[in-house]
């Protein structure tokens, strides 16, 4: 951990005082020209807290401030597990997030904090995401992130995981946790969160060490995801899904909301269709998003790999959307064992991928 300035220390300390509400913390910081002054001037804090009828809180807080060892202890314990920290007064605090009405006072970070200064785009959705939508989310994430756009998402299974997987290759991915940055929740996501760090990604949270995600932390966390990003892609979610908070925040903050369309009778994406009806942008590919937000995408070049006639035939069919081996057999005039071995070759050449249920798709 780098050496912290007195201003930063003041904010981190105040952030650790769980008994003070966010709005009061923010007000206290704004009382002074420099946050570090809270260590020097008791009267202003006392006066403010008395004026909002928080006399008891004032007493406790002033006593805590007076105890220098305690202050250091709080700061140290808050920062455990984090490799860096960004406070509201830091220069590196993301501008877009700062513009929101309720920016987090502190962002505890693990990983590459430089990602915060790049263009960011959020991809979110529910844990129950249909496979083809999850795959599409991964494709979009992969295409955007490999072109320098940082993908912002959570850490849950489903859409979040797909978004992260798409971003892992380039490392342009930020996962916002609803608890401390050191521990993924659910614990099954620990592997994934380690991979984010290994690949040069970033994990941030507004919660200090020791915070366990609560049911209500997720909607609160979602404001950070929306706040950080230029736009939000809603992959999936029913009408009660937590994803709707992210969409709501994005709309409040004036960020662009994109949605994948869902067919009639396809469950799991009601929120997307509802948002589209009320004006969200319907997209299917990364290119559409990039056009809208003026991201620059490199033109996809045809693979320079030499293919045999049979491989070409199958690759073409797969690109057209024939995914199962049986459907390829029906549409290709090839013998089944030829198809299986040709698919194996295409897979080895890295042109197609086989999903867990045995369907093939062209690799992006």
């Amino acid at each position: 951990m780098r050496v912290l300035s007195r201003d930063e220390k003041a904010i981190i300390f105040l952030d650790g005082m769980e008994y003070i509400e966010y709005k009061h913390k923010k007000a206290i910081i704004e009382l002074f020209s420099r946050p570090s002054q809270i260590f020097d001037d008791n009267r202003l804090i006392d006066g403010y807290l008395q004026s909002v009828n928080k006399g008891e809180v004032a007493k406790t807080l002033l006593k805590a401030i007076a105890n220098e060892d305690f202050v250091e202890e709080v700061i140290a314990s808050n920062l455990r597990g984090a490799t860096d920290v960004i406070t509201l007064v830091s220069n590196s605090y993301p501008t877009l997030l700062k513009q929101t009405p309720t920016p987090p006072l502190v962002l505890y970070a693990r990983g590459n904090v430089e990602l915060l200064s790049k263009d960011k785009f959020a991809i979110v959705g529910s844990r129950k995401t249909l496979l083809q939508y999850a795959k599409r989310a991964e494709d979009i994430s992969s295409e955007l992130s490999s072109n320098g756009v940082v993908i912002v998402t959570g850490i849950a299974s489903g859409a979040d995981t797909s978004a992260i997987k798409g971003g892992l290759k380039s490392g342009n991915v930020i996962s916002v946790f609803a608890g401390e940055v050191g521990k993924a929740y659910p614990a099954t996501a620990n592997d994934l969160s380690n991979k984010i760090i290994e690949n040069g990604g970033l994990i941030i949270s507004e919660y200090p060490c020791g915070s366990v995600p609560k049911v209500y932390s997720y909607p609160v966390r979602n404001r950070i995801i929306a706040g950080l990003s230029l736009g939000v892609l809603i992959v999936s979610g029913n009408l009660t899904s937590g994803t709707r908070y992210t969409a709501d925040y994005a709309l409040d903050y004036g960020r662009e909301v994109f949605c994948l369309p869902y067919g009639i009778g396809t469950s799991g994406g009601e929120i997307c269709n509802k948002l589209i009806k009320s004006g969200a942008v319907m997209v299917e590919t990364a290119t559409e998003i990039a056009d809208y937000l003026s991201f620059e995408l490199k033109v996809e070049s045809e693979p320079a790999i030499v293919l045999t006639e049979k491989e070409k035939t199958l690759y073409k069919l797969i690109k057209q959307g024939f995914s199962s081996t049986d459907s390829l057999a029906e549409n290709s005039n090839m013998l089944i064992f030829e198809i299986i071995s040709t698919l194996g070759m295409l897979e080895l050449k890295g042109l197609i991928v086989k999903d867990p249920i045995g369907n093939y798709s062209a690799r992006k």
């Binding site: 496979l131 469950s267 081996t325 049986d326 064992f337 086989k354 045995g358």
Partner: protein
């Protein structure tokens, strides 16, 4: 007076000769059986007494001692009734002295003197032949089981009186006609034919590969995709059973009392489908006297576990060792018996609890956590033993009615027979029969990869993140595909096809 006859009892899967000695002497009338008889043998006293009386013979009013030798062998079952009864009649001087030293008697007696069928006749007769006995008298009900034993004159008896008449020259006992196994095995009819399966090209091909190399296979797909139908077709494309295989399997079925009286020999490969509520004892074998379990009944055939994820973990895990060793030793207080259990395992399961994960026909309502939990029900090591894993999806109605009929089972079976023959010739010196049984040592001898294949394997290993075990599994399957194409060496396309069948962890 002393009389001595030979009976047989069953120890595990093998018949053991039991010398039945009957002695009558003067003294208070009594009837004792000595020589480690179990309850069923002890009870034969009462059956024998009534049977002799009701067959028009006299039960001697003397001191009677029956000795079953060897004395340290635990005798089981009611099959010794017949030699005991004949011995008593002889010892009490009721029929002429005739040399019966090379005759084996097997049969249970009913109170009215009729001879009932017993289980395990076939293994007993096989042992009797090996021990040099030339004649046997068995119950009429078991006649079918004697049809395939060459070199022993087998006569059947319906009741005790017939036997006495026969020995006194007053009547005849019918001799069991010997049957030619080849004639029967050529005329097998199967209920299911692989040509009934519509679409499912991959599954059909994978099935043929699996059967050709005796590879274990798992079918994953939504409910109604036809997994069970596909599995049911497997026996119809399995290679013909050789006489030795048939005898081996019949021995087990006979010992377990599962042989139907119409068929003396198991000439169709067994297809055993235990329900998922079966206990591990039922599957593996056990009980007080260490009886064979379902996996031994599936010897030389197919063990089909439908909805594999629904079986208790302990049951599935207990299959790991027999899958590897192809025998199972069932040990109990009374006995420890080694049963053969060389079967091809076919499993089927849904991809997720609701069954529709990834299906085109339905919509999956499961969360990722649920799916992971469901998959975890089948352990990794067990999955590792499945050489081929394929997914099947349900077929649309149009495909059901429009599709041209595919190849029928007979055509496929002929190819499979040919492929198996190649394997048998290759493994002549080794004690294995099929590619699936190859160990690392065999792989290094019979599955040398060319430079090109090695390159493919290396790429696959790195790109697809294969495990070491997956590598040898792929090579084994590739060997089978090469055999199917009558290719001496494993070619790149064989290897690539095998890679397509690899099992994949999610």
């Amino acid at each position: 007076m002393l009389a001595k006859y030979v009976g047989y009892t069953l120890i595990g899967l093998d018949g053991e000769a039991v010398e039945v000695e009957v002695d009558t002497s003067s003294g208070l009338p009594s009837f004792d059986i000595v020589g480690l008889p179990d309850t069923a043998v002890k009870e034969s006293k009462e059956r024998v007494r009534s049977a002799i009386k009701n067959s028009g013979k006299r039960f001697p009013n003397q001191k009677l001692t029956v000795n079953l030798a060897p004395a340290d062998l635990k005798k089981e079952g009611a099959g010794l009734d017949l030699p005991i009864a004949v011995g008593i009649i002889k010892a009490s001087g009721q029929f002429d002295d005739k040399d019966l030293a090379d005759t084996v008697f097997i049969g249970e007696l009913s109170l009215d003197g009729s001879v009932r069928g017993v289980t395990g006749i076939l293994p007993m007769l096989i042992s009797a032949r090996a021990h040099g006995y030339k004649k046997a008298i068995i119950p009429f009900a078991n006649a079918k089981e004697g049809e395939y034993i060459d070199g022993v004159e087998i006569r059947t008896a319906k009741n005790l009186k017939e036997i006495c008449d026969y020995f006194m020259g007053l009547g005849e006992l019918p001799i069991v006609e010997k049957l030619n196994y080849d004639v029967i095995s050529e005329n097998i009819k199967y209920n299911n034919d692989i040509s009934f399966v519509k679409g499912q090209y991959v599954a059909r091909r994978a099935m043929e590969v699996a059967v050709s190399g005796n590879h274990n296979i798992i079918l994953v797909g939504p409910p109604g995709a036809g997994k069970t139908m596909l599995a049911k077709c497997i026996p119809s494309i399995m290679p013909d059973m050789s006489f030795e295989e048939a005898l081996e399997t019949t021995k087990i079925h006979s010992a377990a009392g599962k042989l139907s009286s119409e068929e003396g020999i198991v000439y169709k490969r067994p297809y055993v489908t235990p329900h998922h509520t079966a206990t591990s004892v039922a599957i593996i074998g056990g009980g007080v006297s260490a009886k064979p379990g379902i996996i031994s009944l599936a010897h030389n055939g197919v063990l089909y576990l439908d909805e594999m994820a629904e079986y208790p973990r302990a049951v599935l895990e207990s299959l790991r060792q027999p899958l590897e060793d192809r025998v199972i030793t069932v040990s109990r207080a009374k006995a420890s018996v080694k049963y053969p259990a060389s079967f091809m395992m076919v499993g089927s399961m849904n991809p997720c609890p609701c069954g529709y994960f990834g299906s085109k026909q339905g919509e999956c309502k499961c969360t990722a956590a649920q799916i992971i939990k469901y998959k975890a029900k089948v352990s990794g090591p067990l999955m590792d033993r499945m050489d081929i894993r394929i997914t099947v999806d349900s077929v649309k109605y149009d495909e059901l009615v429009e599709k041209a009929k595919g190849e029928d089972s007979e055509t496929v079976r002929k190819r499979v027979n040919r492929t198996r023959l190649i394997q048998r010739e290759r493994f002549l010196g080794d004690d294995i029969n099929s590619n699936a049984e190859m160990t690392e040592r065999h792989l290094s001898v019979y599955c040398k990869l060319s430079d090109e294949c090695e390159k493919i394997m290396r790429t696959a290993f790195e790109n697809l993140k294969l495990s070491a075990r997956a590598r040898s599994r792929i090579i084994k399957v590739a060997r089978t595909i090469a055999d199917m194409e009558l290719s001496q060496d494993i070619e790149p396309n064989h290897l690539l096809e095998a890679i397509g069948y690899r099992s994949e962890e999610v």
